[in-house]
Amino acid sequence: MLTYTPLTLKPGEILEIDPCIFWATECRDDLLDSLQRQGQLQPVLVQRSGTGYTLVAGYSRYQGLKSLGRKIYALQAEDPGPWEKGMIYLSSNLGRTPDTLMLVRALRYFHPLGLHLQQVRLLLGIPRGSRQQHHLQAWITLPPAWDGVLQHTPQLLTCAPDLAKISYPDLDTLLPFFRDLGWSLNNARKFLELLRRAQKPENLPLEEMVSRLGLDGILAGDLSPRDRIRAILDNLGRAAYPNYFRLRDQARQNIKNLVSGTAWNCIHPDNFESPGLEFRVRVHSRDELAEASRQLSSIASSRHLRTWPVYPYE
């Protein structure tokens, strides 16, 4: 059990912020207001270091009091180690509900310290053996620069096991794509999958492949984020599935020609496993139905059907 000594410090006496403050947030307006009106109701925690003190807990209060130029009521802990400091910090923040990024930051702090991680996970509310635990475990093997991505795309955590298999140089190449664009989970997965496929045959370094396919240009371009994602996935798809895309482009053009000027929509749903086509139309009246029927007859006798629009046998 640690012992604490009460102190009153000038803000300038706190020289450092300990890394155990892994959830540091600036002082909110309501807290600042309360500090101003009611004064400091709870002490901050410090540790002696050289000629001054290191802050161990109470970052927001410290920032608020510093900005108000007030003295700081503190408790000095007797030489806690990194583990104890982390646990003190975590315990003093038990009221907060950690988001994904906060969980990652906490685990990044505790993980190198090794022992009793189960206790930490319990305090963080991470179920033992859960997927969340597995994903977080994988995420903290990524370079810390990746953590910022979780701020706008927390769902990317579920891709952590796949990201963890990528080399550090390749992750450096990849980071701007996730930092600068907001991905849906589905698209993020597709992106990683296509990257892996496009990279494999020649085992190209990612940087070379990104430049060869012009993905860096798309990322830096003027398109909307949505269109940039679409263009990136399309380029990658063409690299990973060149024959499929060639067939798809041909078929789409043929189908477009076939139904052009009619109300009919036509798709090929079979990934070229068959020459099958599906025709659809939406009608609202008997007249529209008669018209659609006439159009279908004209499609059936169209010159665009002399060669069937989908023919995957050559």
């Binding site: 990973a240 599935y241 024959n243 499929y244 496993e273 995957p312 046998y313």
Partner: protein, 376 residues
């Protein structure tokens, strides 16, 4: 511990580290035989399979002699949108000691434990019921959920089975394998009713992706020996894999095959492109990181399985069919799980032209000229 006996086992078989035996089959003939062939392997009665698995760890080489309670005879789990050969499975066990990278069993079963149904009398009882009507012909095989012969050196299962089936002339048994074991042969009463068969592939695929299996030449030497003993054989180019230089590899495979056997020695031959349930992909990448063929253009087929994009596999099929025709093969070539369109484009005929695939293969199995002779 097993060093001395291990030397007696064929190269593809590492001695199990432990044998589990269900209490009901401790005294079965098969159990007694297995335990006598592996005298130094520790064994125990299996009362709780999951507990035993935990005890031995997930990577332990365990042989499980099981009192199987399910159906022994089944239909091949073909899917509806492609033509299935209508093969009947005689279920004798699960899992396989070989390590083929593409093996679908990796997704079928939760663990790698080699399971053998040791209650053979129950199997024979069920088979007797199915096969009782002599007018009904069956083409059946044991190579669906395991390799037909990979455990033969330990179990002698196939020997027992061919011996039992000797009394049923209405069943033709196909033994599908990637190894060489002909120990069952002397127990066959009529070689016309047993079809030893081998999966064949390009030599470099066998070397790199079918770890533990026999080489193509060894397989074909065994096939030639079977032919000499009066058997006809079957061959299966399955899975045909699309890899850089496949033309050369598959041409060499065809040449090697016909260095050893003649087209007329082959009852039938199937061709099947690599296809898989989507779940296999991750497992394959994890277990076999060198299997780069998985990064090819696989699309989702009409049955939900992943398949190579049709024009790519059609190119391979046409190439193989041409080579095989040059070697004398005819309408005894068929496709495993392909559409009628693919048949027509690659072979020039469809299953319908042959009077349906299962009937056609039944005729080939029984060497029946007249379709009317078949009542299956």
């Amino acid at each position: 511990m097993n060093k001395v006996f291990a030397s007696c086992l064929p190269a593809h078989l590492k001695p199990p580290q432990h044998i589990l035996v269900d209490p009901e089959v401790i005294h079965s003939e098969l159990t007694i035989r297995v335990l006598s062939r592996l005298p130094r392997t520790p064994w125990s009665v299996c009362r709780d399979y999951q507990q035993e698995l935990k005890k031995h760890g997930p990577d332990a080489r365990i042989l499980y002699l099981k009192n199987y309670k399910g159906r022994f005879m089944r239909f091949c789990p073909g899917t509806s949108r492609y033509h299935c050969c209508g093969y009947r499975i005689i279920h004798i066990g699960e899992n396989c000691p070989l390590h083929c990278s593409y093996c679908i069993l990796q997704t079928y079963f939760q663990d790698r434990v080699l399971k053998v149904w040791a209650n053979q009398q129950d199997l024979f009882r069920e088979l007797s019921m199915h096969l009782a009507d002599e007018k009904k012909l069956f083409r059946a095989g044991t190579g669906e959920f395991t390799d037909s012969l990979a455990l033969e050196a330990i179990t002698g299962y196939t020997g027992d089975l061919v011996d039992f089936l000797g009394q049923y002339p209405n069943v033709c048994l196909e033994l599908k394998s990637k190894i060489v074991d002909l120990s069952w042969m002397h127990r066959v009463s009529d070689p016309a009713r047993v079809l030893p068969s081998w999966s064949v592939n390009a030599p470099e695929i066998i070397t790199s992706q079918e770890k533990g299996s026999a080489g193509l030449q060894e397989r074909m030497q065994a096939a030639r020996e079977c032919v000499r003993q009066g058997f006809r054989i079957c061959l299966h180019f399955d899975p045909v894999i699309h890899y850089p230089g496949w033309q050369k590899g598959y041409a060499r495979a065809v040449e090697t095959i016909f260095d050893y056997v003649r087209a007329k020695d082959i009852a039938y031959m199937s061709l099947g492109s690599f296809r898989f349930m989507p779940e296999l992909e991750k497992i394959l990448i994890h277990n076999h990181p060198g299997a780069h063929y998985i990064y090819n253009e696989f699309i989702t087929g009409l049955d939900g399985k992943k398949r190579l994009l049709l024009p790519l596999r059609l190119k391979q099929f046409r190439f193989l069919v041409k080579k095989l025709r040059q070697a004398g093969m005819g309408t005894n070539m068929y496709f495993c799980m392909e559409s009628g369109n693919v048949w027509k484009k690659a072979l020039g005929y469809t299953p319908k032209d042959l009077g349906d695939l299962d009937n056609h293969l039944l005729r080939l199995s029984f060497q029946a000229e007249q379709p009317g002779a078949l009542n299956a």
